[in-house]
Symmetry: C2
Subunit: 431 residues, 2 copies
């Protein structure tokens, strides 16, 4: 058997008009890679039966795995079930159990189910129904001409769950490859993707049981590690072995495992250690506090945030010495130290974290170019401060500076050395 | 001549592996709609000559306009020029002027141009070169079999400029349709896309010279208006007429024209009127300040921001009365009023803007469910406060609440009535 290949098909007029960016395709493809299945074509078509039929035929002719999203809803434009049935010569049946579940769902909301919803209980004959744990429209799997054709709704939240819970296990089972796969997602911060790739390329090359995949989520890079073993225990062992090697090579550049962002990782550490933090922001302008408060329950550890763009606010709110502001400027070590210490004192938090810098595009000088960043962290024991040189782009500088602030918290809470001034080695960051 | 149709082709292994979300396709398609050109197919392939060739042939056979992005860079994987030439039977030539410009560019950086970069000066014979104002790799236009095949780099920043400056004008000129088009982008906030569509559908239906397109940028909806006229002046007149009708119907729901976000629109109004603002944030957790500081030069009008999650911080930082917190809770009208007033007084700003609410997922009650939001704005004349009911999702609640805060500023600066408590009528917001 040759290595199975996939086509990903997304359906919807709104995609063809460019009204929304289609993120389903990259999600499907990244997840298929965890089963070592390469996607070779992404195709999007409008809600047009002829075009849909043509693309579905081409997909089944060229790929053993076909993932389709969209066109399973209740409206007239939702044609996927009908077109799949006609294209592959199947009849359509209405599933009584699915219909009953939908009616019960509407009753639970105190609403009558409108007749158009009933068509979401229709399936091509021979299809296996894929439950949708978070929406009304189930998906289905149809085997056609040696290919597995999976159809899901287009709503990302719904298809994410269905891919992981219903689709990937079925693909793995049908492929009947020897052994099982175990996978882990490592979140890294501080290295560009190409550096990461070259640092780790030998691991996959020298070990046929291991696959590595990359995904960018600026400023982080996500590293997907997939390991194959003859059984679950062996695959898990293989996975842990590789993950350990990667962690040993990258050290603190691996900030966590799983989809959770750095703000959630830091939040959990603060909770565990019962520590609190307060943030004083100049160049990050509130983004650091906003990231921290993206995490439910963050009120337990974020005591206060202050956005102090002006020198006046730095003095009044944080008690920064006007003489230091005059002598060194707002973007300087003495000022960032006083910001962190002032915030810690006034809030009573265990840690005071401060940023000041030149986000750009204006305000740079030879001595302090756009992208200059000072970070300081004050604790009961001491205050540390360091300078970094970021990029030219305001939005990216805010993101990077906030991420570096969070990373200082993470490393401090773990007792790891803070990143040095050559950090982060991203593309576009001058060295 | 039938209405021309487009295929959009994007090329790159990183897209097939799902490492990045491909936003170029929706951009291309939305921009093509401004020329009344419908996209009928999006296809993505890996950096694989055979697959690329197959897709390019299908594109040219099925569409008069073909937009291709990716594969024009300096690396071995960049194959677009070579594959296009071979697929359509053209030779390849190296353009001396483009080569010289690239060498000069590298010299200006004090660096030697590496030999692999030279291939970015290669083009299929008969191609028209499309300058790239922001990168090293130019694009090109090749006429093949009655179709216009445009190739651009895959870097969004580069292709955005090239589409608007080089590609759309060439398409418009070659189509040789009677008249010219003028276009405007209206940013709306407060209505869902389907409501917007039904409110305005008659405008395009009753007027063949007008096309409307929609794009979602949560929580805003962007409305693209395209008008055709026999000459520029008439098209402009037609456009203004339609835009005026839309503005009259939607009133303050149109927050601006062009790509600028609400934070930039509000920033410009503050600058013009020489007003300053300070923000006190509970449920928005710093996002409001971060949005304001996304705008370069915002230090001129944002005096201060405070993130006061805890009751203690609300008292200490903003002087909120503990008795009010006890009697009404942190999410209440008296507290949000004191937050806005306290922030205005301590900062000396013209406006004090405050948010408090239950972002979720926890913390809701029957009386104050998840999604409850209080906003207050204090000025020298008065303090206004209002309650809104948002959604169940924490991330969307933060975005919506910050957007409502900015909208309060915009309307106040313009002297328009503030949005009532049924605002915003988005999908997913319960009514």
């Amino acid at each position: 058997m040759t290595q199975p290949r996939a086509w990903v098909v997304t359906i919807g007029d709104e995609l063809m008009r460019g009204e929304i960016v289609d993120s389903n395709k990259s999600f499907f493809s990244e997840r298929l890679l965890t089963l070592e299945i390469e996607t070779v074509r992404h195709v999007t078509v409008a809600d047009d039966p002829e075009a849909m039929s043509e693309v579905l035929r081409a997909a089944v002719a060229n790929a053993r795995i076909v993932l389709v999203s969209g066109g399973l809803g209740p409206t007239r434009d939702d044609l996927t079930t009908e077109v799949v049935a006609r294209t592959f010569g199947r009849g359509i049946y209405r599933d009584a159990a699915v219909l009953e579940r939908m009616q019960a769902y509407f009753r639970s909301l105190g609403r009558e189910m409108t007749p158009n919803n009933a068509k979401q209980a229709d399936f091509p004959e021979g299809a296996e129904i894929l439950p949708n744990p978070v929406g009304t429209a189930p998906g289905f799997l149809l085997q056609v001409e040696g290919s597995l054709l999976f159809c899901t709704p287009g709503v990302p939240r719904e298809l994410y769950r269905m891919v992981d819970e219903e689709i990937l296990p079925r693909i793995e089972a049908r492929l009947a490859r020897p052994g099982v796969l175990r996978t882990s997602l490592l979140r890294t911060f501080g290295l560009g993707e190409s550096v990461l790739d070259s640092e780790l390329a030998d691991l996959a090359r020298d070990n046929p049981a291991v696959t590595l995949g990359f995904r960018t989520q600026f400023p982080d890079n996500l590293l997907r590690v997939v390991a194959r073993g003859s059984d679950r225990a062996q695959a898990e062992l293989e996975l842990r072995r590789v993950v350990d090697v990667i962690r040993a090579r990258l050290g603190p550049l691996v900030v966590g495992e799983g989809e959770r962002g750095l703000e959630a990782i830091v939040g959990e550490l603060l909770l565990e250690r019962k520590h609190t933090v307060a943030v004083a922001e100049s160049c990050t302008g509130g983004l650091l506090a906003s990231r921290l408060t993206d995490v439910p329950g963050s009120s337990a550890y974020l005591l206060e945030g202050a956005v102090v763009y002006s020198n006046e606010a730095k003095q009044r709110v944080l008690g920064v010495d006007p003489a230091l502001l005059d002598a060194h400027g707002a973007v300087s070590e003495p000022v960032v130290r006083q910001m962190a210490e002032g915030m810690r004192q006034r809030s009573g938090a265990d840690f005071g974290l401060a940023t000041t810098g030149i986000a750009g595009p204006g305000g740079g000088s030879d001595e302090k170019p756009v992208g200059t960043l000072w970070v300081a962290l004050a604790s009961a024991e001491r205050t540390q401060a360091r300078r970094y040189q970021l990029m030219r782009d305001r939005a990216r500088n805010k993101l990077l500076a906030a991420q570096i602030g969070l990373e200082w918290l993470r490393r401090t809470l773990l007792g790891i050395e803070l990143p040095d001034e050559t950090f982060p080695r991203q593309r576009g960051v001058p060295r």
